[in-house]
Symmetry: C2
């Protein structure tokens, strides 16, 4: 049993990090398509094609038996296709995040923040409505500057503070008591968001993903092999990776266009 | 005679815009590799490979007779390769910007701002030293948040103001009298930079590129055909394109991996 975790970049390492510490004996391979990141501003067709290429590599070369989509953009657009093509368990952050939000909200009013593509897809809105039987109220907001802020390491001080207020002040005037961080980079800004809006319950799908995999009972103990693969190495990703998971080496691999999608 | 202008994204439209109005009767094709933007955080090998694929499309399918590299990242890494492979005039923004800076500086102290990759390449430093016989002093600063700010339309107010100050306050303590905007997105922030640092002479390579092409005398009058090609259409690029050049339609094309590089 090996777990393949993938993302358009290295933000999904927030999910890898939780899974890695929760399941120390499971073989785990992380793939970040850093050569083509970000997916968030690309068309659905392109997102699906790139996602299939990532999954192909993990199944063909690394023989993973389950896929974790640690990227909200891919989860929004490509999960149905991945499930139908690969015939493996495909876990994704949207259902995990939505389930958790429904557990913690007291008033059934939920906020969702993410990239433009994730928000436009309405995936969280649809999932929350489906899971709740359409009993919740939802407000969404795209925050495209949050990812570059995190990647620049600007996670404290006036610039992130003003940028968070720029995006969230209006949202916080709504009656929401729960906020889903629908982007794997955003947990890094969570302390500042909590400081600015202390009344809000923040839902981070990485921790929920751990619960979900435990429930499924799909993991067995192996050697606990770990590998972090990227399609392109750059110092910017190296520093973000170091901030998230320390000095594990990133291996650069080439991702062939498969034309499968 | 047709001119092929290309960039990793749509920032190069600042160059297209100047060329288009200066040479209304020249056939002009713009290609933005929006499916794979940004190049700025990718490795030199990847930047070269992608650039070759862009140039291939413009020469093979659009039969351009001269290439304008409207992207500082590509100019930094791929121009030698492009020149040697295609045997066409290849004009690029680095030499144009450096020549202009040397003309306008009074004290020979020049600042250069751009993406991480452009600054790390030292291309402007090397070009300025070469053209001046090593008689100028140069200070550089990478400003990775400027592109996402522009693409988010955040070009006035406290967030861009603080972000500009975050990157440039230290640089402006140097004796520089001239600042090269070594990224095609940055001219859109030029008014705010001028307001914050009114003493500085700003060099924008788009306008200099017009002079350069006039000098070369390589253009002839044709039908003035225009086409804007992108490898992926997204509303974010559509709005930036509209801000820059209005309602010209973008045509989405597929860029095949050539393996040429």
């Amino acid at each position: 049993m090996a777990l393949g975790i993938f993302d358009s970049g290295v933000g999904g390492l927030t999910v890898y990090k939780e899974l890695s510490s929760a399941f120390p004996h499971t073989n785990m391979f992380y793939l970040g398509d850093t050569a083509r990141v970000p997916y968030g501003n690309k068309s659905p067709e392109t997102i699906i094609r790139y996602s299939m290429e990532c999954a192909c590599l993990l199944t063909d070369k690394y023989h993973v038996n389950a896929l974790v989509v640690a990227c909200n953009t891919i989860s929004s657009y490509a999960v149905d296709k991945l499930k139908s093509v690969f015939g493996l368990p495909v876990l994704e952050v949207i259902q995990a995040g939505a389930e958790k939000a429904l557990q913690v909200t007291c008033n059934g009013a939920i906020g969702v923040i993410g990239t433009i593509a994730t928000i436009r897809s309405n995936s969280y809105v649809n999932m929350l409505k489906e899971l709740s039987g359409d009993t919740v109220r939802i407000w969404q907001k795209a925050c495209p500057l949050f990812v570059p802020l995190v990647e620049e390491g600007l996670i404290t001080g006036d610039i992130p503070r003003l940028t968070i207020k720029f995006y969230l002040d209006e949202l916080m005037k709504r009656p929401i008591d729960t906020l889903i961080l629908a982007c794997t980079h955003y947990p890094i800004l969570a302390p500042l968001i909590s400081e600015l809006y202390p009344q809000i319950r923040i839902v981070d799908s990485a921790t929920v993903m751990v619960e979900k995999i435990k429930q499924m009972g799909i993991l067995v103990s192996e050697s606990g092999r770990r590998e972090i693969l990227v399609t392109d190495a750059s110092p910017a990703f190296e520093s973000l990776k170091t901030m998230l998971v320390g000095n594990i080496r990133m291996k650069v691999i080439e991702l062939r266009e498969t034309g499968i999608a």
